[in-house]
């Protein structure tokens, strides 16, 4: 009888300790708890779209962070580097090397930063433009609108931070960042959301004899900047400057474009 109880206790104990899925033979499983470096609390808000990347010389794995953790259920054993990608808001400041073997759990602290990310691009009269979508460019360009999420520990809401975006050509040193036919209007619309509008934008950079030239027909990167508000005639200070992948195609009107 005592032997049966002992066996039951051992089995129950084993089950209770095995919190991770059992890894196939020759592979490991890894669970990463993701926490805020300042508050030490789990980063559970999906708004940041955090993804963890586990890479080695021969293998790479990616898993989204859900409810503050990510699980890699079946990883080939070996040495890995753990990196982080996010739409905005957090930066991995530690270099994290992982020896994947059996089942293990580790904690990754991410630093909250001033940051923003574009979630939606639309064009007046053309609606929402998805990633990889095409924008028709008439002679006078289009009004580009972008919306997204932001956070700013150093200049929080209701500060009127400014937001800027350039739709860079694939070769910005030669073809530039497009031409704006007016001043970008931007600002936060709520404690965590912003919007900006770029009037009369064309994917062209130089004006020759009254026409815009050096036009490009596709782009894959947004160059984003958030700055503190303008104060008493002085420009704001940059809070973040970053790239965000967003592929676009441009269908230029014949004879395009006019500044």
């Amino acid at each position: 009888m005592a032997r049966r109880i002992l066996l039951a206790v051992l089995i129950a104990g084993g089950l209770a300790c095995d919190s991770l899925p059992t890894a196939p033979s020759g592979s490991a499983s890894l669970r990463v708890q993701v926490i805020d470096d300042l508050t030490r609390q789990p980063i559970a808000d999906p708004v940041y779209r955090i993804e963890l990347l586990l890479t080695s010389a021969n293998n790479s794995y990616a898993q989204p962070v859900v409810n503050g953790s990510a699980t890699f259920p079946s990883v080939a054993e070996g040495e890995y580097r753990l990196n982080t990608a996010a739409l905005f808001g957090y930066l991995q400041v530690d270099v994290v090397n992982v020896r994947a073997e059996k089942s293990q759990t580790l904690t990754l602290a991410l630093a909250p930063i001033d940051d923003f990310g574009v979630e939606q691009i639309s064009v007046d009269g053309q609606g929402t433009i998805p990633v990889g979508g095409t924008i028709a460019i008439p002679m006078r360009g289009v009004t580009l609108r972008m919306r997204g999420k932001y956070q700013s520990p150093r200049s929080p809401w209701p500060a009127k931070n400014s937001f800027a975006a350039s739709v860079a050509s694939p070769n910005p040193e030669v073809d530039g960042f497009g031409h704006e036919g007016g001043r970008t209007d931007s600002g936060p619309v709520s404690p965590g959301e912003f919007e900006l509008a770029i009037p009369n934008w064309t994917p062209c950079s130089r004006i020759v004899e009254g026409r815009l030239v050096s036009c490009y027909t596709n782009a894959d990167t947004l160059m984003l900047t958030m700055s503190t508000p303008f104060e008493r005639g002085f420009g704001g200070s940059p809070l973040i400057r970053k790239y965000q992948k967003w592929a676009l195609k441009f269908d230029l009107a014949p004879g395009c474009c006019l500044p």
Partner: protein, 171 residues
Amino acid sequence: MRRWLVLVCVLASACGGDANHTPVTPTPIGLSLPPGAPGDAAAKPDTTRITITTVEIIGPDGVRVTPDRLKITPTAVSYNMRVWIFCPQGLEGPQGSGWNTEILEYQIRKSSTATNTGGAFSGGLRLEVGYTVIEAPLVMTTRPGQERVTTEILRNYAVIARNEFTAVSSE
């Protein structure tokens, strides 16, 4: 991309607030601390992030002083700050591609706790694995007072390492 790099360098150099100072140049040291380095410059074992391990203040006589023991004289005394930075393997530059991942920026700001006025140094740097030292002058006023001295290492304008102390000068 090169245009952004140039812009950043121009902005960084333009932001230097204090005049009449020697150039502030980051110096890579290597993985081991050199002889004579202060013990508190050593990073803790298994340090995984870029860290300002200590900031030394060296007096005109070459002797290290604590920030609460600075002396005022009829003429402004120029101390020297030595900022010790540790970079673990894997975070040395360049990282990835593009201007914003290739270089870091440092900012050293000094402001009076009474008047909130002061100055700043800033510039770009690339860290190598191990230790790097930034030397910068620390000029105290000729009157007793306190000044907050903040040193930050930034990536994409995000602060990734920080050190702050209050310098107290008295007669």
